[in-house]
C-alpha cells in the first residue's frame, strides 16, 4: 500500500471528526436545574439536636441504606468536667432508634449528627484510581457505582468515616446529599424529617440563603479543620471534645 501526502491530508480531517465525537458529552437531563447556580452544604445546629434518630431512619428509608451501614448517624457525647479531653461517645445502631435514657446528670451531654461533609477538596475523590468518585459542579461528592471497582481506597481516605462498601453491590456507597431530591427543589431526607431544625440544607451560592447571616453571627465550626478538606457541613456550637 502506498500512502501519498494527499491521502494523509484527507485522513486528518476524518481523525479530527472522530476526536470531536470522543470529546462530546451528552446534554444535561434536568432543564430546570442549573448545576452552576448552587454550592450545597449542611448546617447542624448542635443545641437543637435531641437525639431522636429521625434523620438516621429517614436516610435509610429514602436511600435504601443496608442495615449496619450509615450514610448519616448520630453520636452522643458525655463530657465530664474533670475529663474534658476524653469524652464518652455512644452511637447504638447509629442512633437509629434513639438513645438510652441518661440518668447521670454530671458533666455535659450533646448529640452530634454526622454525615458526609461534601468537602470542596476531598481526600476521597483525590485517591480514586478510576474517576468513580467526584465532586459535582454544585458541590456534592458522589460515587459513580457503575465505574467503581470497590477497591475501598476512598473508604480509607475519608477522615470522617463517611464511606462504606455496600455489602451487596460491592462498590463504595455514601451520602449523596439526597442529590435526587435537591435537584428537584426538595430538601434532604434528614433535614425534611428533623423535628427541631437541627439539620438544615444550605446553598452557599444562594445570596438569599439565611446561612450567610448565620455563619456571620454564630460560633460555627467544621469537623477536623486541620485536615483542610474544605468541609461544607457546618456545626453550630460544636464542642472542642468532638473528634
Amino acid at each position: 500500500m502506498t500512502m501519498t501526502r494527499r491521502h494523509l491530508l484527507l485522513l486528518l480531517p476524518a481523525a479530527a471528526v472522530a476526536w470531536e465525537s470522543v470529546l462530546a458529552g451528552t446534554p444535561e437531563d434536568s432543564p430546570n436545574y442549573n448545576r452552576t447556580d448552587h454550592w450545597w452544604g449542611m448546617l447542624i445546629d448542635i443545641p437543637k439536636c435531641i437525639g431522636c434518630g429521625n434523620c438516621v431512619r429517614a436516610c435509610q428509608e429514602e436511600n435504601d441504606v443496608p442495615d449496619g451501614h450509615f450514610r448519616t448517624w448520630v453520636e452522643r457525647y458525655h463530657v465530664e468536667d474533670w475529663n474534658l479531653t476524653d469524652p464518652q461517645v455512644i452511637s447504638p445502631d447509629g442512633g437509629k432508634e434513639g438513645f438510652p435514657v441518661a440518668t447521670d446528670d454530671s458533666g455535659k451531654y450533646f448529640f452530634v449528627p454526622k454525615l458526609c461533609n461534601h468537602c470542596a477538596d476531598s481526600p476521597c475523590t483525590q485517591v480514586c484510581p478510576v474517576g468513580a468518585t467526584f465532586i459535582t459542579p454544585d458541590g456534592v461528592v458522589l460515587v459513580d457505582q457503575k465505574y467503581c471497582l470497590g477497591c475501598a481506597y476512598c473508604v480509607q481516605a475519608c477522615p470522617y468515616g463517611c464511606r462504606y462498601i455496600h455489602p451487596e453491590k460491592r462498590v463504595a456507597d455514601k451520602c449523596t446529599l439526597c442529590y435526587h431530591r435537591i435537584t428537584k427543589g426538595q430538601t434532604t431526607a434528614c433535614a425534611e424529617n428533623c423535628p427541631t431544625g437541627a439539620s438544615q440544607l444550605i446553598d452557599l451560592k444562594n445570596p438569599k440563603d439565611p446561612i450567610h447571616e448565620f455563619l456571620k453571627t454564630h460560633n460555627v465550626q467544621v469537623l477536623k479543620p486541620q485536615m483542610a478538606t474544605g468541609a461544607k457541613v457546618f456545626y453550630n456550637e460544636l464542642d472542642g471534645s468532638v473528634r
Binding site: M1, T2, M3, H7, L8, L11, A14, A15, A18, W19, S21, V22, L23, A24, G25, T26, E28, D29, S30, Y33, R35, K48, I50, G51, G53, N54, A58, E61, E62, R76, H78, F99, V101, A102, D104, D105, Y109, F110, F111, G131, A132, T133, F134, I135, P137, L142, D144, K146, Y147, Y179, H180, R181, K184, Q186, T187, A189, E192, N193, P195, T196
Partner: protein, 161 residues
C-alpha cells in the same frame, strides 16, 4: 522532488502510524463513556442517574396540598416545625396516588417518647416528661392532639385524624 525518491519506507511507516492512531480513536470512542471528562475526570451522566432515583419522602408541601385542614391546625401549634413525614413516615407513593398506599396511624406509645422521654442528655429547654409518671399508662393522644400538642389548643383531644 529528488528528496522523496527513496522515501517510500517512510511513508509506509507513517501510514502504519496513522492507521494505529485511527484504531486507537475508534477503540477509545467505544470504551470511554460519552460524558466522561465533560466536567472533570468522571462520567457526567452518573449525576443524572443519581438524580433520577425515586423519592420516598414527598415533602410537607405535597401533604399540605390535600390535607389543608390538618395543615392549618398543625401550623398554629407547637409542632409547626415538625414536618408531616417525620411522624407519618415516607409517603411519596401516597402523594403520587392516594389510593395506592393508605398511611398507617403512627403508634404514639413509641413515637412521642422518642423525642419527649426525659433524659439528662437532651437539651434542658426541650419539653420532656417521664412518660410512666406523666400519663399513668394512658395514650398520649388522650389529652394531646399531636398536630397541636398544647392542651386546649387546636382540635379536640384524640382528634389526630
Amino acid at each position: 522532488m529528488s528528496i522523496f525518491k527513496d522515501a517510500g519506507h517512510l511513508f509506509r511507516f507513517a501510514a502504519l502510524f496513522v492507521i494505529a492512531f485511527l484504531v486507537f480513536l475508534v477503540v477509545r470512542h467505544y470504551v470511554v463513556p460519552k460524558s466522561f471528562g465533560k466536567y472533570g475526570h468522571y462520567r457526567a451522566a452518573a449525576m443524572d442517574e443519581i438524580a433520577a432515583h425515586p423519592m420516598q419522602f414527598a415533602g410537607h408541601q405535597a401533604c399540605e396540598q390535600c390535607h389543608s385542614d390538618v395543615a392549618a391546625t398543625h401550623a398554629s401549634g407547637m409542632h409547626a416545625h415538625v414536618n408531616c413525614e417525620a411522624c407519618h413516615g415516607p409517603l411519596a407513593k401516597h402523594a403520587d396516588d392516594p389510593s395506592s398506599v393508605t398511611p398507617k396511624l403512627p403508634d404514639t406509645a413509641t413515637l412521642c417518647v422518642r423525642c419527649h422521654e426525659a433524659s439528662a442528655a437532651r437539651p434542658k429547654n426541650f419539653p420532656q416528661v417521664k412518660s410512666a409518671e406523666h400519663s399513668g399508662g394512658m395514650p398520649c393522644q388522650t389529652c394531646h392532639n399531636p398536630h397541636s400538642p398544647a392542651i386546649g389548643s387546636g382540635a379536640a383531644a384524640g382528634g389526630a385524624k
